[in-house]
């Protein structure tokens, strides 16, 4: 049985005729003999927000690093629109304290921007007050906004965000996802982001891809949240531990279980392909 592939008609494009910015098929990746990704296919259309969800160790970050060309591909095909402008916000950015760097210097690293441009974009992400602050002295939420501004300075057609809401409190997270939705509308760019929390991104996303080494299910956020494959992975944790698992650090044993699960299946039992043939 072949793992589910994402079909283009599931993307709900705003413009049916638009060419995909990026398409990938048959993506596979192994690290030290362990299968991290298996036969992944997806397509990113202009002006659409696609969210990747999945447990820790599901290969989400590996997948976007492959799509961005930060990792050399091992299997499959990745096709980027020629000259595609990408803005990237990596996971857990920390700037070492040995580097004296103000936010304005940090923004300037990406290219030759005028002070007015940099201030304007910082203003748009509501972080203009940290313009002259050393980058190590700003809060987690402010840093994510600065990183967003840095990505937007490139006038991207595609914005790739690896857990944009990490290190941000719940109220801040909602504000951040709303901001991402607004950015898509204002800058007319596609967004590919990773999130742990489907319910928080639901309002701001067009398509959800549930990833656990392979594509488990894909579609509209409402459909995915009711999908058996999704519930198999997230359902158990949602029952009793909803508050805990959603509003705090995600690195806990709840997801740890899932990692072990993945490791086992990767060892050769391949139970994960069960029930994966049906996509919405």
């Amino acid at each position: 049985m072949k793992p589910a592939r994402m079909k283009p008609d599931l993307m709900q494009p705003l413009d049916i005729n638009s060419e995909p910015l990026l398409s990938a098929s048959g993506i596979g990746y192994r690290i030290a003999g362990r299968q991290i990704l298996n036969d992944i296919g997806l397509e990113l259309l202009p002006n659409t927000i696609v969210t990747l969800i999945g447990p820790n160790g599901a290969g989400k970050t590996t997948l976007i690093r492959l799509l961005l060309g930060l990792l050399p591909a091992q299997a499959g095909r990745i096709k980027r629109k020629p000259g595609l402008r990408v803005g990237y916000v990596p996971q857990r950015v920390t700037i070492d304290d040995t580097m004296p760097l103000r936010v304005r210097d940090f923004l300037h690293l990406g290219g030759h921007y005028s002070e007015a441009e940099m201030r304007q974009l910082l203003d748009e992400v509501e972080a203009v007050h940290v313009f002259e602050t050393p980058i190590q002295r700003i809060s987690g939420g402010e840093l994510q906004r600065v990183l967003l501004a840095r990505a937007l300075l490139k006038k991207p057609e595609l914005l790739v965000l690896d857990e944009p809401a990490q290190g941000v409190d719940v109220i801040g997270q909602q504000a951040l996802y709303k901001l991402i939705g607004d950015i898509r509308d204002r800058h007319a760019c596609a967004v590919l982001m990773i999130s742990h929390d489907l319910h928080l991104v639901m309002a701001a996303t067009d398509t959800v891809i549930c990833l656990n080494t392979h594509v488990c299910c894909t579609g509209h956020p409402e459909d995915v949240s009711a999908h058996p494959e999704y519930l198999k992975i997230f359902g158990g944790t949602l029952e009793g531990l909803a508050v805990y698992s959603h509003h705090h650090d995600h690195e806990h044993d709840i997801h740890g279980d899932v990692i072990d699960d993945t490791a086992d299946t990767a060892a050769g039992e391949h139970q994960h392909t069960h029930g994966c043939g049906h996509t919405h």
């Binding site: 580097m99 004296p100 760097l101 690293l109």
Partner: protein
């Protein structure tokens, strides 16, 4: 002033002008151990150069480049970490250097090991000075060209990569630049102390800088001050110049630290 003092000053300042900026990148990228490894391997370079009747600096530069290539290639695997690899390279190169030296000394006893270990800045002659300046100009030109990329990869490699910065090429180029600096430095502070002149002025400069460019300029200034005051006090008290330069650099660091604390304390 005597000729040899002027030569020594010119040599020291030349080294300070490159050690400052490169030292900043060494500090940012946590490459102090790599600097040490290059320095230890330099002894092998000296020994090989002497036996081939070449200028010692040429041997040091060539062995440094070879080491950079070897490390670059070894780093492609993941099972052994970079600091372990550096430990292996550093000590095996040092051991090999000592063996080659002992063979040379068996045949002729003309090699002064101490001069290479701790530097012999007062013995630098005009032609050596000329070679040093050639090396320094080459390093500064490369620096001028590569600075935006070097800064970018020092801040965040993945962001640099998505900006289209050739990360691997820059890392390699920087290793080669460091190998050249070690070759330049060997007459001034010697193999054992060369890393000090890279990292101490840069570390002092960090305390007073709020931008990368400030840190680079200040580290040049601190390195130059250490060279001048170290050379002066070495002549005054008749102690070895190389170690004295490093002591002065360390003194600047501790005074800078103290001043930093005082400034912080005065705010409350």
């Amino acid at each position: 002033m005597d000729d040899f003092i002027i030569n020594a000053l010119l040599a020291g300042i030349a080294l300070a002008l490159v050690a400052g900026p490169l030292g900043c990148v060494v500090v940012w990228r946590r490459m102090a151990y790599f600097g040490d490894t290059l320095a230890h391997a330099a002894l092998l370079g000296v020994a090989l150069a002497v036996s081939a009747k070449l200028l010692p600096q040429v041997g040091v530069a060539l062995v440094g480049i070879g080491l950079a290539v070897l490390l670059f290639w070894l780093e492609k695997q993941r099972e052994i970490s970079t600091d372990t690899l550096l430990g292996i390279l550093s000590h095996s190169a040092l051991a090999l250097g000592l063996i080659v030296l002992s063979i040379i000394q068996r045949e002729s006893s003309g090699i002064d090991l101490m001069a290479y270990l701790f530097g012999d800045i007062l013995a630098i002659n005009r032609s050596e000075l000329g070679w040093m300046y050639l090396g320094v100009v080459a390093i500064l030109l490369a620096w001028w060209k590569l600075w935006p990329g070097l800064l970018s990869i020092s801040v965040h490699e993945d962001l640099a990569r998505t900006d289209g910065v050739p990360v691997a090429a820059l890392r390699f180029a920087f290793m080669l630049m460091l190998a050249l600096v070690i070759a330049v430095a060997i007459n001034v502070v010697g193999i054992l102390l060369v890393t000090a002149l890279l990292i101490i002025p840069a570390a002092s400069a960090r305390l007073f800088s709020s931008t990368p460019v400030q840190m680079v300029l200040l580290s040049m200034l601190f390195a130059t001050l250490s060279v001048i005051s170290g050379l002066g006090s070495s002549l005054q008290w008749d102690v070895p110049a190389g170690p004295m330069i490093v002591v002065m650099a360390a003194l600047v660091f501790f005074v800078a630290h103290l001043a930093g604390y005082m400034r912080l304390a005065s705010k409350y």
